[in-house]
Symmetry: C2
Subunit: 233 residues, 2 copies
């Protein structure tokens, strides 16, 4: 598999390119609209055809490149059916699979950060979005956030994966690029080391986080696959 | 192999952790002094012993964590013998090997960005420092920089590696994390696509780059493995 992790520094977002080396077909997970030219150059350099863009959820901190890439490359946008993104070409649900050549990703619903959060599970790695971050997790105080649901999602759908599974999150704010299920189970500051559901909910209730800078722009735009913002630009 | 790419955002530096999963012995390539706590936490979380810190060269844009890590973990600092870093525990030269458990890295001299630049070549990847960046290369207008030597180094020591070899540079300023020899040979804006030595030298002579912000602090500190700065802090 061709695999590239890309970083968008304004929102500290990780975007992932996965491609089948034989068919040269590709997908992008959580692409950011400001980075379209970077993706286009990379696809051209590698000789790849973009088939899908996958969202782990409707983001509040950046605008997706889904619509812009669809217009440019004919790629199809993949968003969970509960994300409020009627624009999605492929509204997915738990247990669905996305296939690109020999690459297969299983959709797992992981609500908690938002209603429509999903993880994409591959052969040796999982793309966890904001549900499970390296050493932490996404906030649960807006967009239908629910700390108890997030705790249940992480335990039932993510920490239950094989221990060596690579964890690729949607963000990191400390320069870390990857982790494993084993590490998060042992050392995640909010969810690891046997933290109880009640203790986790108390942690999440007392974070006192600032109102997200981009949320009023990003969420409506992302519910249109980023199209509104692109057409204004 | 346990492998982690870490990003220091102030200088856009990539640091690499490599560790043997059996012996749990580790090395860091191009660690940054401000990130010592990140490395310490990661080593502890993964249960690793730090054996070496390797410099690809005496950096001008950040201060190495070599001395700080040596003081904390007893790790040995590895720098090319022409780097002007008499502090190095292991002054290396072309053809030397650094071994940590089952991991073996070959030292290849790649002068041009500085006199003492090296690449570290592993089984399927190369750590190129500033000699070969994704789509570009390090500047050659200070620290004994020599565009012709850089061109020769890249062609003889790096682009001659197997095409699928992963290229891990010391920096990227556009959020890209990795490339391959094949891609750089084909598409590197300065060195790829059959660019001649003369054309490359003309490109490098006309970059008109600003004086590096950190050079007057970083180079003397790095010639002491970062120790002076640490002792002042």
């Amino acid at each position: 598999m061709i695999f590239r992790q890309l970083f968008e520094s304004a929102s500290s977002t990780y975007t992932y390119l996965l491609a089948d080396p034989v068919t040269r077909r590709a997908l992008l997970i959580d692409p950011v609209v400001e980075e379209v030219e970077t993706y286009a150059a990379l696809l051209a350099d590698l000789g790849l055809t973009l088939e899908y863009t996958l969202e782990t959820h409707v983001h509040a901190d950046h605008v997706t490149a889904g619509a812009a890439l669809r217009e440019r490359f004919g790629s199809r946008t993949v968003v969970h059916r509960d994300g409020g993104a009627a624009c999605a070409d492929v509204p997915v649900k738990h247990g669905d699979h996305i296939r690109v050549g020999a690459i297969e990703l299983e959709v797992r619903e992981t609500p908690g950060h938002t209603n429509g959060c999903v993880a994409y599970v591959g052969a040796d790695r999982v793309f966890t979005g904001d549900t499970l971050l390296i050493g932490g997790c996404g906030r649960t105080d807006f967009q239908q956030g629910d700390a108890g649901r997030l705790y249940d999602s992480v335990h039932s759908e993510l920490l239950s994966l094989p221990p060596d599974t690579l964890v690729y999150p949607a963000h990191d704010y400390k320069g870390r690029s990857v982790s494993t299920i084993k590490e998060e189970t042992a050392t995640n500051a909010r969810l690891g080391g046997g933290t109880s559901r009640e203790a986790f909910m108390a942690i999440m209730a007392n974070l006192k986080l600032a109102y997200p800078k981009q949320i009023d722009r990003a969420v409506p735009a992302n519910q249109h696959c980023g199209r509104e913002v692109v057409s204004q630009g």
